[in-house]
């Protein structure tokens, strides 16, 4: 059952990911990307990372993608204005990505031999309580630092996007 679910979600994720790339209209791409995110979120649930699933949806589908849509609308890009690359370049791009995939896949066997694998025990590492413990003990510093990151981004965005009054 889980395996079938995995296959299904994977299928959706890959398909809509491809559609992100190949859709001509940016708005469609955004929507396909949202679908991909949902599919990935599904995987999180499969892996019992419920909290992450929630955060994932809120951040990605809720915030990031909305931002994308907002910019597309703002800049009025919801048309097929993009001049396309030549076919040779597209072909080369595809070959390239394919090669990269092959390298990845080729190297990704042997994971089952991991020496420190502690799979199959039933502690719920993905639940809120557990994650909260880890986040606010071991990873407290990165968590705090992340705020600086966001502050930086905020300051930066304000600075850049603000239109100057001449």
């Amino acid at each position: 059952m889980t395996l079938n679910l995995f296959y299904f979600l994977s299928f959706v994720a890959v398909l809509s990911a491809l559609m992100v790339v190949f859709s001509k209209n940016p708005v469609y791409s955004v929507l396909y990307l949202v679908i991909t995110f949902f599919a990935i979120g599904g995987h999180y649930i499969l892996m019992k990372a419920e909290f992450l699933f929630i955060v994932h949806l809120i951040v990605y589908a809720g915030a990031i993608m909305v931002l994308f849509l907002y910019v597309i609308m703002l800049l009025n890009l919801n048309k097929e204005t993009e001049p396309h690359k030549s076919n040779i370049l597209k072909f080369a791009a595809t070959i390239c990505a394919g090669l990269l995939l092959m390298v990845f896949v080729g190297s990704m066997k042997g994971a089952e031999t991991l020496t420190n694998a502690r799979a199959n025990n039933e502690t719920m590492i993905g639940n809120v309580k557990n994650l909260g413990m880890v986040l606010f003990t071991d990873y407290l510093l990165p968590f705090e630092i992340a705020s600086i990151l966001l502050l930086t981004a905020m300051v930066g965005v304000v600075m850049l996007a603000k239109s100057e009054k001449k």
Partner: protein, 457 residues
């Protein structure tokens, strides 16, 4: 750690000063604050302190590198006054730079991949913005744009690397990873190496080695000159420091399997960067290629004997930072006076501004590695270590390319000393003072390298 907090604090202060309209003294405060932050390290040189369950470790390396970053940043602030004071976004810019410094410090003192990652990102994101901070300039826009797309693309690979390394070692902690790798070398899965390489590639992008250097010349050339100076000094130190920590501390035991690839990268970097720089007529762009090339020498020392290179690495970066600051400071003045940063802008500088020409020449000579300036000793230590490790063919390449380096470093020199009626470039006293100080430093470092070079390792 205190320094980190102080620098963060400086960021906040500068943001707050916008609100409370305290912009006037801000620049001075920041400089003093940075100096203060550097001073907090004074007692810590021989103490190793761990913070937040090993997230950060301030050992000798981190302390030295952090203070270097902070000091260089302070010096940079001094010469970059014109970038801040009087600008509408003074506070924003100040805060962004301060946060960049925070990211830099994290990059040289991290003990956990999460800190490394966040450090890199804080630094990068702030830099994306700073590169584009001259909003009306098309070039500045393009620089920010290119930097952003390529940077975030590279981040993807970096993260993939971290993920794969995490997967094969089970931890983000440097010590744990290091121990695990050392004790289970035979049992490491194939994707560990993929992860390792992607991790290194991710940082290689930041330190801009060929073939991951493409962004550097364009971004350096497009950004406001002072930001370019910042990128080639503070940012470079942080990135190289991070590379060193990853390469020499975290993955010490698998260096052998990486060094072959890095060797090829070094050769490419030395050749491509140096040769391409020859044709540049824009000094700013030339310095960008030069900055790429310098990394090639650093890496050569690094792969030859990373333990022994620790001290020379610091020396190299310090001397490079000092010389770059001189060069960029003068470049910035020349550019803003003449409206261009091509070689022509430098023509006849000597007749009107002998002091500037003198300092610029020393900076360029130092970059070219001519004794007795600091750059020479830096390069010398690289060659020395490489010969000690019997990388003779690499040394030959390094020597040939550094000769090519002389070729382009001397172009501005020749231009400056060619008689040519030209406009006088105005330097205010502060700038003169700091440039003179840096020049003196470059000479003194070259003459008395011992203390600096043996501060580490």
């Amino acid at each position: 750690m205190n320094a980190l907090l102080i620098v963060c604090g400086l960021g906040f202060i500068s943001l707050l000063s916008e609100i409370f309209n305290l912009k006037k003294g801000l620049h001075v405060v920041v400089v003093l604050g940075l100096i203060g932050a550097a001073l907090t390290f004074v007692g810590d040189l021989n103490v190793t302190t761990r913070y937040f369950s090993n997230m950060l470790i301030f050992d000798r390396f981190s302390v030295v590198f952090s203070s270097l970053i902070i000091t260089v940043a302070a010096a940079w602030f001094c010469i970059a006054r014109s970038y801040f004071v009087g600008d509408t976004h003074q506070t924003d810019r100040t805060a962004l730079v301060a946060f960049t410094v925070v990211g830099g410090i994290m990059m040289v003192s991290f003990h956990n991949m999460a800190i490394l990652f966040l450090g890199i990102e804080i630094l990068s994101i702030a830099l994306y913005v700073l590169a584009g901070s001259n909003k009306e300039s098309f070039f500045s826009n393009e620089a920010a744009f290119k930097y952003f797309i390529m940077g975030s693309f590279a981040t993807g690979f970096l993260l993939m690397g971290i993920a794969l390394v995490y997967g094969s070692t089970g931890s983000f902690d440097i010590a744990v990873i290091s121990n695990h790798v050392a004790s289970n070398r035979a049992a490491l899965p194939g994707f560990f190496y993929v992860g390792l390489f992607l991790l290194l590639i991710g940082i290689s992008f930041k330190i801009s080695v060929v073939p991951f250097h493409f962004w550097a010349p364009d971004v350096y050339a497009g950004s406001p000159t002072l930001i370019t100076a910042f990128m080639s000094t503070v940012v470079k130190i942080a990135a190289v420091g991070a590379f060193y920590k990853i390469f020499a501390q975290c993955f010490l035991s698998v260096q052998a399997s990486v060094s072959g690839t890095i060797m090829v990268i070094i050769i490419l970097t030395l050749l491509v960067a140096n040769i391409t720089a020859v044709y540049q007529s824009n000094v700013k762009r030339m310095l960008a290629y030069s900055s790429v090339a310098q990394v090639g020498y650093i890496l050569l020392g690094l792969i030859s004997d990373s333990a022994m290179f620790e001290g020379p690495l610091f020396y190299y970066l310090a001397s490079y930072a000092a010389t770059s600051l001189i060069a960029f400071a003068i470049l910035e003045r020349v550019e803003s006076t003449k409206g261009t940063s091509t070689l022509d802008a430098f023509a006849g500088l000597y007749s009107k501004n002998p002091f500037a020409a003198f300092c610029m020449s020393i900076a360029l000579l130092s970059l070219a590695g001519i004794p007795p300036f600091a750059g020479f000793f830096a390069k010398y230590s690289v060659l020395s270590i490489a010969i000690g490790a019997n990388h003779l063919e690499m040394v030959v390449i390094a020597i040939i390319t550094s000769l090519i380096g002389v070729y382009y470093y001397f172009k501005p020199v020749m231009a400056m000393f060619t008689p040519n009626a030209s406009v006088e470039v105005v330097f205010n006293t502060g700038e003169k003072f700091i440039i003179g100080l840096l020049t003196l430093l470059v000479i003194l470092m070259g003459l008395l390298p011992d203390k600096l070079i043996s501060i580490l390792g």
